[in-house]
Symmetry: C2
Subunit: 593 residues, 2 copies
Amino acid sequence: MTRYTAPTKDTQFLLHDVLKVSGQDVPGYAELDPDFTGAILEEAGKISAEVLHPLNAVGDTEGCHLENGVVRTPTGFKAAFDQVKEGGWTGLDMPEEFGGQNMPYVMGTAVGEYFSAANHAFTMYQGLTHGAASAILAHGSDQQKATYLPKMVACDWTGTMNLTEPHCGTDLGLMRTRAEPQADGSYKITGQKIFISAGEHDMADNIIHLVLAKIVGGPEGIKGVSLFIVPKFLVNEDGSLGARNALACGKIEEKMGIHGNSTCVMNYDGATGWLLGEEHKGMRAMFTMMNEARLGVGMQGLCQADVAYQNALDYAKERLQGRDVTGAKNPDGPADPLIVHPDIRRNLMDQKSFIEGARGFLLWGASLIDRAHRNEDKAADGLVSLLTPVIKGFLTDKGYDSTVQAQQVFGGHGYIEETGMSQFTRDARIAQIYEGANGVQALDLVGRKLAADGGKHVMAFFDLVKNFAKENAGQDEAFDRDFLEPLKKASKDLQAAGMYFMQNGMKNPNHALAGSYDFMHLFGHVCLGLMWARMGKAAMEALAAGTSDPEFYQTKLATGRYYMARQLPATGMHLARIMSGADTVMALEAANF
Amino acid sequence: MTRYTAPTKDTQFLLHDVLKVSGQDVPGYAELDPDFTGAILEEAGKISAEVLHPLNAVGDTEGCHLENGVVRTPTGFKAAFDQVKEGGWTGLDMPEEFGGQNMPYVMGTAVGEYFSAANHAFTMYQGLTHGAASAILAHGSDQQKATYLPKMVACDWTGTMNLTEPHCGTDLGLMRTRAEPQADGSYKITGQKIFISAGEHDMADNIIHLVLAKIVGGPEGIKGVSLFIVPKFLVNEDGSLGARNALACGKIEEKMGIHGNSTCVMNYDGATGWLLGEEHKGMRAMFTMMNEARLGVGMQGLCQADVAYQNALDYAKERLQGRDVTGAKNPDGPADPLIVHPDIRRNLMDQKSFIEGARGFLLWGASLIDRAHRNEDKAADGLVSLLTPVIKGFLTDKGYDSTVQAQQVFGGHGYIEETGMSQFTRDARIAQIYEGANGVQALDLVGRKLAADGGKHVMAFFDLVKNFAKENAGQDEAFDRDFLEPLKKASKDLQAAGMYFMQNGMKNPNHALAGSYDFMHLFGHVCLGLMWARMGKAAMEALAAGTSDPEFYQTKLATGRYYMARQLPATGMHLARIMSGADTVMALEAANF
C-alpha cells in the first residue's frame, strides 16, 4: 500500500551544491562528481523502491520465527538480501582489500538512508554487519581481518553487537558475562545477552558475534570489560566452516515494531571466542564505532520520517475532504484535497522542513567523519564527536514526532495497520531507544562532549556559525532577515545555555544534567538552522547562476524560511527550561513522586 | 506485568480542596462531601485495579475475532463487563428514572478516568453506550427513551455511533448512507459505515446503533443528514427482542492498538431504523453530545499517560543503573536506582506535572458541564464549549507524548511488548485521532469557538485568569513569583495570539488557521498553568490550616513549580510560530512539496 521514492535530487543538491564534495581535499572525494554519485544514488534508489520497500509490510506482518533454534526471516528477505549482496552494496564504503569499494562514508550514508527508509528492519542485518566489520577493521589482528572481513564485507557472514544483559544496559560495568582464558589463546564465553538484533537468522552462512565480557580475575566494573569475536560456526584455518559454537538464540522478543529483524536473547555456554583488541579495553573498542553507529541511528529517525512523509503527502493530495476557506480549489469535485487546508500544510511543512534539514545535518556529519578518518583531521574528529549525540538524539526524537505527524494526516486510516502508517511510527520508535537511549545521548553531550579538550569543539562550532553569518551577511536583505538573523538568535540561545552550564554546573552538576535533554534539542535546532542557512545560500547561488530548475531552488528557500520561522523559535523554550536549573527537577524525594 | 493504582487522593484534592464541589450551587453537588466521593472513588479504584487492569494486556494480545458474523471479545471481558454492570457503574450519572444514579457528570468523569486508565479498550464498550444513551436522552421521544434507555443505562444493551464512511470522516456532507421513509414511519437504512467502535461483540443482548444517514430526497450535503436508531435486534412492543435487523459487521480492522475493542465495518442493507430527533438535524443531535464525548477522549489522553507514568515510576525506583553524580544513593548496591539521575527526574516530572494539571483541567471542565446542564448556565456552557477542543486536542497530544516518555524510562525494555509499555503508547495514539482528529479540534477552536457569541467566552476566560491573579497576589512572595507571574506571562501570550488572529484573520483567514494548532497548545498550557495556580493556592491554604499531611501539599507545590518553570515557557514558542503567519505555511504549490 505504501510507496518509497529515494530523494536522489535532494541528496545530489546536498552533496554538490551545499557540501561541494568533489572540491573538498578529502581522499576519495575528487571522484564524487555529480554523474558518478548520481548513478549510484539512482541505482540505490531503484533497489530501495522496488526490492526492499515492497518487503517492508511483509516483514512487519510475518515477523521472525524461532523454531528448533533456527530463526526464519519473513518471506522474500533472503532473496532480497542476496540481491543487495550481488549489487555490491554491502561493501560500498569498505576497503578494497576486503572486497569493498572504498567509497567515502558520506556515500555509504547517502545510500544507507535510502535502504533504511525503504525497509528499516531488513537493513539492520546489513547495518549490524557493517558495524561489527568496522570493529574488526579497527581492532582486529591481521589474521582476524583476513578470516572475517572478506566474508562480512560481502555479507556472506553477518555480524552482531552483544552488549546488553537483562540487568544492565547503559551501565555496562554491571556486566556478568565472563570469559575464561584457554591454553590455546581462546576464551570460553559464558553468559546471557539480550536485545541482540539479527542475533540469529537464515540469510547467512555464519554469524560473527562481537561480545562484551569480563575476563575472569580482571578488574571490577567497566574497566574489566573486553570484546570478543564469537562466531556461530567456528572457522577452520582454510576459511571453511567448522563446528557449531556453544551459543544459541534462546528466544525472539515480541516488539512494538521492526518485526522483520530478529531481536534475540543469546545464550553463551562456554562458547569459544577470541579477544578483539586489547584485554580490558572492550569499551574503547566499542567507542571507536560509536560515532558511526550513532550517526546511523540518527539517520533511521530521518528515514522513517521521510517515507512516512511521502505517503502522507500522497494522501493529502488525493483525499478529498472539506473546502479551502479562501475558495474551492477543486470546484468540480465533491470536495478539495486535504492539502488545501492550512493546518494540513503546517503539518506537512513541519515534516518537510525537518526532513530536508536533517538530511543536510546527517550528510555534513558523515563528511566530517570522512575528514576525521581520511585526513586524520583532529578538529573534524572533535566536532563530529560533539555533534554525534545531537544527530542521534535530536534526529530520532524529531524523526519520531514527524512520523507521528505523517500518520495523523491519515486520520482514522492512519491507525489501521492496512495503510502502513502505523508501522512507520512503530518502527521509528526504536531509534530513540537503542544505541544509547536519548537521555544517555544528552548525558554524553553535556557530561562529556561539551567540555572535551577544554571545550574547544563547541567553541569551534560557535565560530563556524558566526563566520557563516558574517561572510554571508549584507548580500541579500531577505536572506539576512529570514535566515541569518534567526540563526544568530538561536545560536545565541545555545551559547547562553552553555554559559549557564559553565557557571552553575561547577557548584552542582545537576544544574547542567537537568538541562541536558533540552540542550540536545536546542543544539539540534541550531544545527538544522545552520544547515538551512547553508542550503538557502546554495539555492540563492544556483538561482543567481541561472539554473534550469528554478522551482527546485525556490522551493528550498521557501522550505528553509518555514524552518527558520516556525521551528527555530523552539530554542527560546529550551533555553528557558535549561535556565530554570535543577531545583524544580530535583525537588521531590523519590518517595513523594 | 503492569499495575494501575487509582489516584483517589489526587481526585479528592481536586474535588474538595480545589473545585470545592460540595459548596457549589449546582444541583446534586451538595451531597458530594469527601466521605461520599471518597467511598465511590475507592470502590471504582478497586474494580479498576483488580478487575479491569489485569485484562488490559489480555485484550491487547488476544484482540477481537469475527467468526460467522459474531465477534468474540477477549477472554474475561464478558465476566468483567457483568461485574461493572452489577456494580451500577454504567449508570452513575444517568437519570434515576432509567435506572441510573443521577450523580453529577464530574463524578462520572472522575470514575471514568480510573476505568479508562485501567483498560482503555474495555471501557470504550461502556463509554460508547453512554454516548448513545445521552443522545437518546436529549433527542428521543418518550417512547424511544422508555424502549432503549433502561437497557442501555444498565448496559444490557450497548450503543454505537456511526458517522464515518470510507470516503468521508471529517467532511460528513459527503455521506452516502441513505434512509428511505416507510409507510409505518420507520426508515430503511442502506450504506456502509467504518471505524465503528464496539460495532459488534458478544457482551450484550442487543446493540443500538445510532446511524447518520441522508433521507432520500432531502437537501444536499451536511444539511440533509439525519440521525437514526438502528438496533441489531428489533424490539417488540413488550420490550422483548424481535427479528434480527438487516445489518452486519463485515470486518474487524487490524489496528495499532486498542485491540480489545472491536472496530467494525458495519453494513446496513435496508436495515430498519427510526428517526432520532428531527429530520435533517442529525448533526445538531450529534453536536449535543460532542462536548461530553470530546472531554471523554481528552480524558483518555490523560489516562494512558497516568498508567504509563505509574509503571515508569516503579521502574525508575527499582532498576539499578549508574550512580548519582553527586554521591551514591545506594552505596551497598551495585548501582543507584534510575530515579537519582537528573534527566530521568526531568522526564518523570514532565509526566507528573502534566498528568496532575490535566486531571485538574478535566474535572474543572466536567464541573462546567454540570453547571451548564444542571443550572442552565449559559456562561458555563459557552466557556466549556470553548475549552472542549483544548481539552480534547491538548490533553491527547501531551498525553501521548507523556506516554512515550514513560516508555522511554524503560530503555530497550520499553520496546518489548512484555513490559506493557508499548501497549500504553499504541493505545494512547488513537485519542489524538478519533472523535475529530486534533487538527479538526484546532479548527473548531479557532474557526468557530473563539469568535462565538462575539468572542465573549474567550474574554470571560481571560477575565477569569486576570481575576485569579489579582485576588491572590501579594500574599506570598514565592507564590507570586513561581505561579502568578508565569501564569500572567503565558496568558498574555495567549491574548497576543488572539489579537494577531483578529487583526490578520479578517484579511486572510489562513493567518488564523495556520496558527490554529499552536493556538490550541498555547491555550492548553495556559489552562494547565491556571489549574496549577489554583492547585498551588489550595495547597498553601491546606498547609496554612495545619493539614495533617503536609508532604502531600508540599509535593503539589513543588510539582506546580516545575510545570510553571519548565512547561509553561512553551507558550512563547507557540506565539512566535503563530505570529509568523500563513506566508511560510502556504508558500508552496501543492506540486512543489
